[in-house]
Amino acid sequence: MPLKYPTHKAEVDVEPIQLLSPDGELVSREDVPIDVTAELCRDFYRRMTLARRLDTQALNLQRQGELGLWLQCWGQEAAQVGSVTAIRPEDWVFPSYRDHAAALCRGITPAELLSQWRGCAASGWDPYRYRFGVYTLVLAAQLPHATGFAMGVLRDGADEIVLTYFGDGASSEGDASESFNWAATAQAPVLFFCQNNQWAISTPSAAQTRTALHQRAAGFGLTSYLVDGNDVLAVHAVTRLAAAGIRAGNGPALVEARTYRMGGHSTSDDPRRYRTAGELEQWRALDPIDRLRLLLDRRDWADGAFYDALAREADDLAADVRRTCLRLQPPALAELFDEVLAGPSAPLAEEREEHLAYLGGFVTEDATA
């Protein structure tokens, strides 16, 4: 008699939590409470609009040769703004590398955001100042950092949680699974937030995983949620719910936000080689900013003066992004020798002197005059 393997339960098709329909209607759910006010919606609309404007301007700057590379967050504004505003200012965030909208919400300046991509710095901001880690370009490597940090929070008995962003591609990395497992085992207060933007460069998320990530989470012992990532209200409410659960001591959680990377993976990518224009159009109809605008207009929650002021603010931001970008300069190479180690290093000090002596060996026009 052939050995019979136990069969796995087929994946249940779960609808993502949605509180704002694509045509701008509010959907009420008792299990996902949120107090939707005009003020809240205007605030989200403003944040998302500004983030998109920065993103577009950075793309332009890259196309004009002023940035070496840019990774657009276009289309993912709701996933980022909705989630990062749902945690407290004292909570740390460990981002991936496309989380510009979240970074702006944390107060990181355009200059700090762009310096890495202009080739002037390896990261532009002080993580302690914003409680926002540096971008991590090796996929999922930030997840164990968030987990370890949360283990520290737990040890300190602090009323904080840690939010970490990653994507559908990164969910395949060993560091992701290790972190889910370790966080669950240690009951560390981490919120793993997956922006499933459907594409890992050219690999579609359906080819990335057999089991939806929010369902895989259960196997690790994580509380999990599936949310419409283009619905800023649902993202906000679900993140707040998950964060409250973690803060109440229920252990770590995972949110999978279904969203879409409207642009290429990076400015070096050409998504036309692997996805159809039709798919892009489908998702364009689900645009997170347009969707919130439908609600604002339907409820008469924003008037012309609001939109005009926001348009001016976005123009000013775009001008500021361009101005600050063009002013960004790298430090002198000689400065880097002192930044490798916190303590002294005689060989590095010696190499720095050799470098300076080499530079000093050039005779300039001025010096000979």
Binding site: T136, L143, P144, A146
Partner: protein
């Protein structure tokens, strides 16, 4: 007198007692006390929340240590065996080593990674490796290698106090060798972490070595002395940064140098040492710098390791070649 294992254990006790932010993290280090018993009894005395059994996931041992360090803790990680550090390579090389530089010094990561390393104990594969050159090649890490109980104790205490990440190698084959451990931070017996040490003075040739090969070099020097050659033995202790002035001063006096390490010679520490000595001592040298190391093979099965690892005879053969130049 203490074994190296006891000296490491008492160092961990001291740092745990001195600083509440110190945590010890690793596989089977709690109830068991570690596979080599280096952490024996620490959980009983300092609690399970400071002597933490990690999951069997090396990348996350280092990754969570980075997170803990960002939170203000000072984690001391144990990687169970040299060959098990590779799953953590990305976290060590791309994360731990780089965050200080990436943030222009705003982030300090005082993480120590202890690695029982090297061969000579008849172990199975992946349990006898010498991978120090990978980490010494990486900017942003301090890489140190102790060779006796006294250094093991004091170097570990200094490593934990360092604000930089430290890869701390312990030679397994010397774990049970006893030595007197200085009772206090006596400058005569406790050198700074980045300094090399003259383990035996001599005038005819300098043996440059570290870790488990120091005893082999001392034994070789003893034999050479009976044949009328006084060999100086230098224990590098710090592989990165290198204490170049100490090495150069010795070679300028002896005019000959042989590097001895367990690691394969090709692009091992010996390659760098030979290059630096050649650059700095060229007109003083009577012979090229020679290297004695593991062959450039995967570490062989245990019954062959005595033929693979440098021993007194192979060291003396190289010494003879250098002296005959």
């Amino acid at each position: 007198m203490m074994t190296m294992v006891q000296a490491l254990n008492s160092a961990l006790r001291a740092v745990l007692a001195e600083d509440d932010r110190v945590l010890v993290l690793g596989q089977d280090i709690g109830e068991l006390g570690g596979v080599f018993r280096v952490t024996d009894g620490l959980r009983k005395d300092f609690g399970a929340d400071r002597v933490v059994d990690s999951l069997l996931a090396e990348s996350s041992i280092v990754g969570t240590a980075i997170g803990l360090a960002l939170r203000g803790y000072r984690p001391v990680c144990e990687i169970q065996f040299d060959g098990f550090v590779y799953p953590a390579f990305n976290q060590i090389v791309s994360q731990l080593a780089k965050l200080h530089a990436r943030t222009r010094g705003r982030v300090r990561l005082p993480v120590v990674i202890r690695i029982p390393a090297g061969g000579g104990i008849g172990a199975v594969e992946h349990h006898s490796e010498s991978n120090e050159a990978y980490f010494a090649h990486t900017a942003g890490l301090r890489v140190v290698y102790c060779s006796d109980a006294n250094d093991a104790h004091w170097m570990l205490r200094q490593a934990v106090r360092s604000d930089d990440p430290v890869i701390f190698y312990e030679p397994k084959r010397r774990y049970w060798a006893k030595a007197e451990v200085a009772a206090a931070q006596d400058p005569a017996r406790v050198l700074p972490l980045d300094r090399a040490r003259v383990a035996r003075p001599g005038r005819d040739l300098t043996l440059l070595s570290y870790g488990g090969m120091i005893q082999v070099c001392l034994d070789a020097a003893e034999t050479a002395a009976s044949e009328g050659h006084e060999l100086e033995v230098i224990d590098l202790r710090s592989l990165s940064p290198l204490d170049t002035p100490t090495l150069v001063a010795s070679v300028i006096r002896t005019r000959r140098a042989v590097v001895v390490h367990e690691a394969p010679t090709f692009l091992g520490l010996g390659s760098e040492l030979a290059a630096q000595i050649t650059e700095r001592c060229f007109y003083h040298l009577e012979a090229p710098v020679l290297r004695v190391g593991g062959y450039n093979l995967p570490y062989p099965p245990a019954r062959l390791e005595d033929h693979y690892l440098p021993d007194i005879d192979r060291v003396l053969a190289a010494v003879d070649r250098a002296l005959a130049f």
